[in-house]
């Protein structure tokens, strides 16, 4: 390299030294790629077919699926522990209530949990529970382990209906551990009334029946079968949904997003109409008492000017701690915007971090860190220049994204490319973000 400042080059070398002595692992690549020993040509074809089907299934909005899942979700909105299914056991309800009480963010008081189905796998009992959180449908899997697992997976009912599918996977890789080793991976979701069977197809082309009852389904497999884990060939790639004599493929996407489309490839604005410069979040810097009080959990910044709790989306009980603070003093002071993620049922403050005080458009902060989550939550801060946000889907559907006190939080289906558009107060496009 001869075009880099020697000082910077040395710093970069120190940051990431050359990799030496770590053996290559091509056989592991083949395993992850679904190329196993003795595999039939048919299996290989199924893998290629499945890859195509993931996209096609995601984009297929059939009248069959749209009508059935939409009406079913209206009924699932009545998930209050009465129907569908039956009330959760007293122990499960009490465990839910206790966790909800201990967390910083809470599901609505009095939330009733329903038991949708019970199944056993390798001698262990698993109960799939359901409840409603504002405009979202939530599933919670009770099994042999609760610590270190997602407490619940939720999806906005509006998006579930708009997808036009007869079923939707909420999480594709809820991993249970025993003795430090992954013991089982669960995939689960919701299904329309008339769905009479769900098969989960893995990357190796194999199809596995899921347990289906009370508009919910679950598939359990041994070990870590999530793509985010180390078993790519066994990772789920789609759900095959049966209704009467019909079948439909429902997309599952647990891997990285590749070949992201350009803004013009999706409906909605494709060009930025006003270029923003660095901006600020005035109320935080002025110390206004918006939202609710919140004790910033971090040791930094040195001086916390403002720390508040914001509830950014009425469809979700997720909350965000926001803070502004400074390191140093006088003209040398460095300002920082800070965020803390607060999930219901998760004790204490979640992960948090800070970014420098100037913001251009959105300060994008990706959340919901599990690759298996099919409706990840995106949340972060928007500069004062940003007045509104809108999310566009490939099928033309679009929805407003709530923006409360400069904080945004929204979910979007992982299996689809979506586009977030930011507008200023005069509804000029000031930012386009491909998700």
């Amino acid at each position: 390299m001869n075009d880099l400042d020697p000082t910077l080059a040395a710093a970069l070398d120190e940051l990431v030294p050359p990799f030496e002595g770590i053996p290559s692992q091509w056989r592991d690549v083949l395993r992850r790629g679904g190329v196993g020993r003795g595999r039939s040509r048919r299996s290989r074809l199924l893998i290629a077919g499945a890859s195509a089907a993931v996209l096609l299934g995601a984009l297929a909005a059939t009248s069959f699926g749209q009508a059935v899942l939409g009406s079913t979700l209206d009924r699932l909105g009545a998930w209050t522990g009465v129907a569908p299914g039956e009330p959760a056991s007293t122990a499960q309800q009490e465990a839910f209530d206790a966790a909800n009480e201990e967390s910083y963010a809470h599901f609505p008081p009095g939330t009733q949990v329903g038991r949708l189905l019970t199944t056993t796998f390798e001698g262990e009992t698993y109960e799939l529970l359901g409840f409603r959180d504002g405009g979202s449908i939530c599933l919670r899997l009770a099994g042999p382990q609760s610590e270190g697992r997602p407490p619940a997976s939720c999806a906005p009912q509006r998006q579930l209906s708009a997808l036009g599918e007869p079923a939707a996977v909420l999480t594709a890789g809820d991993v249970f551990s025993r003795g430090g080793e992954a013991s089982a991976t669960a995939l689960y979701g919701v299904a329309a009334d008339d769905v009479d069977g769900v098969l989960v197809e893995t990357a190796d082309g194999e199809r596995h029946p899921a347990a289906l009852r009370n508009n919910a389904f679950i598939y359990l497999a041994p070990g870590n079968r999530s793509f985010a884990g180390r078993a790519g060939a066994d990772a789920p790639v789609r759900a095959i949904v049966h209704e009467g004599g019909q079948t439909l493929s429902v997309a599952i996407e647990t891997g990285p997003a590749i070949d992201r489309p350009e803004p013009g490839d999706l409906p909605g604005p494709a060009t930025v109409e006003r270029t923003l410069g660095p901006s600020h979040i005035g109320w935080l810097e002025r110390g206004e008492a918006r939202g609710a009080p919140y004790d910033w959990p971090g040791a930094a910044p040195e001086t916390v000017v403002t720390s508040r709790l914001v509830h950014p989306n009425p469809d979700s009980s997720f909350e965000m701690g926001v803070a502004f603070g400074r390191d140093g003093g006088g003209q040398e002071a460095v300002g920082w915007y800070c965020l803390s993620w607060l999930w219901p049922l998760v004790k204490g403050s979640g992960s948090y971090g800070c970014a420098r005080e100037t913001v251009t458009g959105l300060l994008p902060m990706y959340g919901s860190g599990q690759g298996a989550d099919q409706f990840p939550l995106f949340a972060g801060l928007a500069a004062d220049d940003v007045a509104s946000l809108e999310l566009f889907f490939p099928n033309g559907a679009h929805e407003q994204v709530p923006l409360v006190d400069n904080v945004y939080a929204f979910q979007a289906p992982r299996a689809l490319h979506t586009k977030l558009v930011a507008y200023d107060a005069e509804h000029r496009v000031v930012g386009i973000y491909m998700l």
């Binding site: 390299m1 970069l12 940051l15 990431v16 990799f19 770590i22 690549v29 790629g33 971090g353 860190g369």
Partner: protein
């Protein structure tokens, strides 16, 4: 060997050759993006697994290496995001220390403050030793943009490193 079999085999052979030839470069760029050597190795394995699985969709509109670099970069970006709270323009709090660490936290902070494209161009240029044309192909941007982006990254890094309190 029939034609179909030779085509499929060639795809795997090409991928394996690229993997064995450039693995340290792929791992190093992934480590720069992910911030952790072990997770970087996992990201590269995952990216190549994806490449193997999706090799039939590679249309040869550009070099195979550029396609694989896109997979590696995007996979590493996704791995970085899986940590719950890192993202573009974000400095996770525990990196904001003034002390010296094996990874040089000042540099990490300065890099975190760069726009993502500048970071990626810098990583591909420095850690993978790709030329401008290869970087342009990998990131699907114009070659001229690579040069401009790299210059901007250098300028920002120098400026930010001077600002970071020591």
């Amino acid at each position: 060997m029939n034609r179909g079999a030779r085509r499929a085999g060639t795809g795997l052979d090409e991928l394996e050759a690229l993997y064995r030839q450039k693995l340290p470069h792929f791992r190093r760029v992934a480590a720069a993006i992910v911030g952790d050597p072990e997770r970087a190795c996992d990201a590269v394995q995952e990216a190549f697994g994806t490449a193997v699985r999706r090799r039939s969709s590679f249309r040869r509109a550009g070099p195979l290496e550029a396609w694989v670099w896109r997979l590696v970069v995007n996979t590493a970006r996704d791995h970085a995001r899986r940590r719950d709270f890192p993202a573009e323009n974000l400095v996770v709090e525990d990196t904001r220390t003034n002390g010296s660490t094996p990874f040089g936290e000042d540099v990490r902070v300065a890099l975190a403050l760069l726009p993502e494209r500048q970071r990626l161009v810098l990583f591909l240029r420095y850690y993978a030793d790709l030329d401008y044309a290869a970087i342009a192909a990998a990131l699907e941007i114009a070659e001229g943009t690579v040069a401009a982006t790299l210059n901007a990254a250098h300028a920002s890094l120098r400026r930010t490193l001077q600002e970071v309190p020591r």
